[in-house]
Symmetry: C2
Subunit: 122 residues, 2 copies
């Protein structure tokens, strides 16, 4: 047995891990992944309506980068009016549980954290 499980932290400038994680460390991407994880397939406007506060632009941008990273699959049905479906890829699905775990942790620790912030302000 080694001294540490050591996830091997690469702290380098061009840290390769950060280049990956930063992509869904943004404001909306994790939320989109969670929604697609629950609904399996969603149209653009469905996601749009499910996320109050997001702009059409940011939804487009977020979906595009998720697609670039191969986490989300985009399917266009060439009809009028057009129809575009979004769903998780296997890779996206492999990421999903980790995000869900984070959300779960956040829910479990929310109240305590908020209280910490309060008492810290005094």
């Amino acid at each position: 047995m080694e001294k540490s499980k050591s996830v091997k932290i690469d702290v380098d400038e061009n840290c390769p891990v950060r280049g990956i994680l930063d992509r869904f460390g943004d404001k909306w991407s994790t939320l989109i992944l969670l929604l697609l994880g629950e609904s399996s397939v969603l149209r653009f406007n469905e996601i749009y309506k499910m996320i109050p506060g997001i702009s059409q632009k940011m939804l487009t941008v977020s979906l595009k980068t998720l697609e670039e990273d191969g986490l989300v699959k985009r399917t266009v049905y060439p009809q009028i009016p057009p129809r575009v479906d979004y769903e998780l890829t296997p890779r996206g699905m492999s990421l999903l549980p980790h995000i869900q775990n984070l959300v779960k942790w956040a829910n479990e620790n929310r109240l305590n954290i908020l209280q910490s912030r309060e008492t810290h302000r005094l």
Copy 2:
């Protein structure tokens, strides 16, 4: 059995979960948590040297918000020159494995993601 395991996604404007996760969705906080997870106790300057590219300001800010959320404990030794130690709290430790899992996932999927980005550019 219910239809879904349902991590319960709160998509509301004032989504409480986002208010938590956004705090370490920033540029440096997760990295600091990982380092403290490996080293257990570190002084300010030790962390500073371990993270090339971080500014003194951002290290201060990041540590402060981590402390506010009760994820990191700050201990001041009133001597000259001063000495300040940082370590994970139990709450910080409970978060650590989830971040490590994300890093692990990122490492495992790094190459494939980079390739996805490439082929997508064509």
